[in-house]
Symmetry: C2
């Protein structure tokens, strides 16, 4: 796994993924007490960065293997990314999703032409379900994060950050990334190691689901006590990936931990100040920059806004609670 | 007024305004029955395209004149654009705003350092107030639309549309633009006349405030019966501008008229499908593409999403009414 794989993924993604904008607002700078730049991956196809990794993986597959169909497990963003990448490649996708996934993610995945299979997040093992279906139907598994081609695809986000920040005169920054299994975090860290070595990547996780932050401290794979109970469904995973943790251990700074309520508050700020729709997990990095500034050292914080697939009820909750008082 | 002035404005705006993305969603294409591209000007600085015209005007002023301060009248988007452009040029701004402007617009304009003066939209003449203050304080008026430098600034949106659409292989389209006084509409029409002559611009207005659509039919300046009573505060003006109407009469196709409720519905679709926050007036062109497709002839509709400065209560109303059922 190296920068060459990320550059190769960028070539396969050219004209397919969007180069999402790097946004800012003087109001957010004031709250954070430093310059804040927001990489708006919620504007990526299917509403999250996951399309990059999915396209990277499918576009590199042997065409005969790809034609038999692919399978993925996901709370919804990887699901939609794989569904669209499969449809655009003219093949089929089976997606295994927790039955408590946000309605928008379940419906969109099906609407993009995938076959959706649901499971109980607390009681069933999604890997076992995936392995069985893959074997029965000769489908190829597209892993959500612990796969070099997927990490390389997510890493293209980092290439864009380096270029766009440099255009603004920024070469040194702390880069905050919402972190589940670590595919996006490690991909960006690998990309920036090669293209913006004065930038340091920090994973951001929800309180109670900070397996990566704790693993970075202990040096070994820590496990979350639960896999349910956070609004940040997109970034809840039991434990860091094998590959991703190796990269993160070598390249990342300390992890940040944010509450669900801080994510709702960051969603309200993104609504008021950036005109972006973020989902709770997608707002985690912005929440860290806005409300944990004391733990930051750099003049500039670059926050990845990783996704925007949020049900209206949750978004309304964020606005009711935080948008009105924020002006 | 010609393409040279728009190109000159683009040079003054380089590195100052954002080149906003041209977005799309397969779900919106399905609703509209054609390809739909959305120029996301809600992501422009201050949350609307108005920053372009304001910067264009201020950057072209004599420095000594500019240093005495500027004045503008606006329901809020031109206000914020002028306030930020003035602050960045190191000068002061007085902004005359209707007292019923959205709270977010009033507060942001003041927070950007401008002196805000409110008036009664139904009873007072904003031009008279502006003229008096400008004379008393030797301020330079930055007109909201009927001014060549402002039209040129807004026209840079059209230059970007032509380039970005061509990158997607689109050279022929109907371009729908939310229209108040006509600065954005005529600027884009002038830019596209020179850079994408197979594109035709159509103004879009709220029902009951369709002065431009009626003026294009009659060939003379028609006036709205009222200037209050629409959620689309950004695009309510009594009558087309003198300059802008001349350009629109020569270059534009027929106007579209949309209801407030169609705008709320388009806001919900932009939330679900594009992850964009739009204000009602900023969603008018998207509403026309989605719900008035029978009046369109082209394979591709390009919709300008002109602004996103909406109060939380109005956005919640759009989601409550339209987002939940839209999935």
């Amino acid at each position: 796994m190296n920068i060459g794989m990320i550059n190769a993924a960028a070539i396969r993604l050219a004209g397919k993924s969007r180069c999402t904008p790097l946004l800012s607002s003087p109001f957010l700078d004031d709250i954070a007490g430093r310059r804040v730049l927001i990489k708006a991956e919620c504007l990526q196809h299917t509403g999250s960065f996951k399309f990059r990794g999915a396209w990277s993986a499918l576009s590199a597959m042997d065409p005969e293997v790809r034609a038999r169909g692919v399978i993925a497990f996901s709370s919804g963003n990887h699901a939609q990314g794989v569904a669209l990448a499969a449809r655009e490649h003219g093949t089929s996708a089976v997606i295994i999703m927790p039955e408590d996934s946000p309605e928008i993610k379940l419906r969109n995945t099906a609407a993009l032409g995938a076959e959706v299979v649901t499971y109980d997040r607390a009681a069933e093992d999604r890997d076992a379900i995936g392995d069985r279906l893959a074997a029965e139907r000769r489908l190829t598994l597209v892993k959500p994060f612990d796969e070099p081609l997927v990490i390389a695809g997510q890493g293209t986000t980092g290439l864009e950050i380096a270029t766009q920040a440099a255009e603004l005169g920024v070469t040194s920054a702390q880069v905050l990334v919402p972190c589940g299994g670590g595919g996006l975090t490690s991909g960006i860290a690998l990309a920036l190691e090669a293209t913006a070595p004065e930038m340091k990547v920090h994973p951001v996780e929800p309180a109670g689901f900070d397996d990566v932050a704790r693993s970075l401290i202990s040096g070994q794979h820590e496990v979350n006590a639960s896999t349910t109970g956070s609004l940040c469904d997109a970034i809840i995973t039991p434990s860091p990936g094998q590959l991703t943790f190796g990269h993160m251990k070598r390249l990342c700074g300390a992890g940040f931990v944010v509450t669900d309520d801080a994510c709702l508050q960051a969603m309200a700020e993104a609504f008021n100040r950036l005109k972006l729709v973020l989902e709770p997990g997608g707002a985690a990095a912005l929440a860290a920059a806005l409300y944990h500034g004391n733990s930051l050292q750099s003049d500039t914080a670059i926050c990845v806004a990783s996704g925007g697939n949020v049900d209206p009820d949750v978004f309304i909750k964020a606005l009711e609670k935080h948008a009105k008082g924020a002006l």
